[in-house]
Symmetry: C2
Subunit: 148 residues, 2 copies
DNA sequence: CGCAATAATGATAATCATTCTCATTTTTGA
DNA sequence: TCAAAAATGAGAATGATTATCATTATTGCG
């Protein structure tokens, strides 16, 4: 789901962090690399296990920091584990098909015209109830091959 | 968000429960009544506090049962509280605008044509990765008036 | 009717993903 | 080179949700 090079992503993330007084530490670089390489959103544990120099508490803490500055998006489905992916702007805008049984997630995209209509409808509805919209999500919920 | 009468909903829920060997107990009737009356998805605590004869553990347990039989949908946003609403089929299909700050949720609907296009795109994508789709969700994420 | 058998209840204990704490280490900028 | 500020990591704490289990309600059958 990468649309920018590793270098571009690094630069963007570094700038997002610096704007809020954070540093782009080695741990954070590692998280970004893992998420950039992954072809689907990962749980904290999946990330921790991908490198043996990552402490669980640091991964949680840093994913939160990265989420705060807008570099990472957290996906919550059921009440098991959260999953994390690089935020819109660092990857191509996309949507998810989620297995409600095992939590596995696959990415997909909508035609641009559909995406635009959706945005328009959403913004109209939001203004009526005086919400400010930051992002949207469109998820298909179902069962993956392994679980059915 | 009601599209059926209380009596119709009761009948549907009773049948959904019976199909799986569950009873439509007083507690469950009460939950359905509260959700049917509510104009937005409610947290467990909001439901518990709405009647003083509802035990917290029973509400959690029964919302799970109602979710299993397809009468109630659980909405998870951040990692605070889950919220619950009557499932599609018992209410009109709709979507949510969610405040990422306080968790408050407002309902809205999409034009039918858009809804159909969405479904079609989703199903096409799902079949490629061999997922079976049960439902979809389209949520706007942002900030409500109170929180901005 | 009684009367098992099965399900539901509710108070409380247990679970477990996530967050917090804090002493130590690293980085920054003057 | 040196404080000040930030990050780290191991372990403790938190808190929404789930599990336990003795008690109570409901069902269906003879």
């Amino acid at each position: 789901m990468a649309s920018l090079s590793k270098a571009d992503v690094d630069e963007q993330v570094a700038s997002l962090l610096r704007e809020k007084g954070h540093r782009y530490s080695n741990t954070r670089r590692m998280l970004v690399r893992v998420l950039l390489t992954a072809e689907k959103p990962l749980t904290n544990n999946q990330i921790v296990e991908s490198h043996d120099s990552l402490a669980q508490s640091s991964v949680y803490r840093n994913l939160n920091v990265l989420e705060e500055v807008g570099a990472v998006t957290r996906i919550v489905t059921n009440n098991e584990f959260s999953r994390y992916e690089l935020a819109d702007g660092l990857t191509e805008h996309h949507h998810h098909i989620i297995c409600t049984s095992c939590g596995d997630i696959t990415d997909f995209s909508l035609p641009l015209t559909l995406e635009k209509s959706l945005n328009q409808s959403l913004r109209t509805a939001a203004s009526k109830v005086r919400f400010t919209i930051d992002q949207h999500r469109f998820d298909g919920l179902g069962t993956c091959v392994a679980c059915q």
